[in-house]
């Protein structure tokens, strides 16, 4: 049995997985790990660990959400697991923010936060403009209502609604539906 304690083994495991992923330059979900034999990952022997140690650590990591997948040959690192690995590595050379006084509390985000990547804010802006122009168009109330209804049917179509995805609710609201 290794002389390292449980948390140290977990840290070693997560740092190893993150290093492998970063060396390949791919997202965390694109790399799977195999820990079924001692030969499958050289770091087990390099750190004087046994397969039993690693499997116990993996079980804990899966239950805590650091690793996901099928024990023990199809495992992936999660965002939380990667975060812990990065924190461990950074702690070695970066000092944490501390002052002469100490305040203990929760962290609040003070700035704008981008959620997601490649999201559909552009669709909302375009449709907002279209709806505004329809509302101010020189046409009868009935004609404007008909135009909006046709737009609604366009969004509702099975092909187009997969394009708009999560923005659908917002777009329907803009059309007053």
């Amino acid at each position: 049995m290794s002389k390292l304690n449980r948390d140290e083994i977990i840290n070693l495991l997560l740092v190893h997985m993150n290093s492998e992923i970063e060396s390949q330059g791919v997202p965390i979900k694109n790399v799977v790990f195999n820990f079924t034999t001692e030969e499958s990952e050289s770091f087990i022997a390099d750190n004087g660990l046994s397969l039993e140690d690693i499997h116990k650590a993996i079980n804990i990591c899966i239950s805590r959400g650091y690793i996901s997948g099928h024990k023990y040959n199809w495992l992936s690192l999660t965002t939380e697991g990667q975060g812990r690995a990065i924190s461990i590595e950074q702690a070695e050379f970066k000092k944490p923010v501390l002052g002469s006084t100490v305040h203990i509390g929760t962290l609040n985000n003070h700035g704008a936060t981008q959620i997601g990547d490649g999201n559909t804010f552009n669709f909302e802006a375009v449709f907002n403009e279209i709806v505004n122009r329809l509302d101010s168009a020189e046409a009868s109330v009935e004609e404007i209502k008909e135009a909006k209804s046709l737009l609604g049917k366009f969004i509702e179509h099975p092909v187009t609604n997969t394009v708009f995805g999560a923005s659908l609710g917002i777009l329907f609201k803009q059309l007053g539906m």
Binding site: D7, T79, E80, Q82, G83, R84, I86, S87, Q90, A91, K94, K95, P96, V97, L98, G99, S100, T101, V102, H103, I104, G105, T106, L107, N109, H110, T113, Q114, I115, G116, E156, N161, G165, A166, S167, L168, G169, F172, M177
Partner: protein
């Protein structure tokens, strides 16, 4: 559909929401390390935000699905 939710930043080691800061209004920046008040481990702030953003994305997706199902049912009733 819920319009708002609150996500807490949690220590990557022990899940605590309490961190040690120089003062109450201290604003963290990208690249900062912040110490957990419970376990004493140093957390990478960018990683804390990445985890929170991932949770936020999942929450938004769930709300959008609920809203879409609601609207789909409304349309089914309208066009019957």
């Amino acid at each position: 559909m819920e319009e708002m939710t609150t996500l807490e930043l949690r220590c990557l080691f022990c899940k605590s929401t309490e961190f040690i800061l120089p003062d109450e209004d201290y604003i963290l920046e990208s690249g900062d390390q912040v110490v957990c008040a419970n376990c004493g481990n140093s957390n990478d702030y960018d990683s804390l935000m990445r985890v929170a953003n991932e949770k936020a994305e999942k929450w938004i997706e769930e709300q959008a699905k609920k809203e879409f199902e609601k609207i789909s049912k409304q349309f089914e009733r309208m066009f019957k």
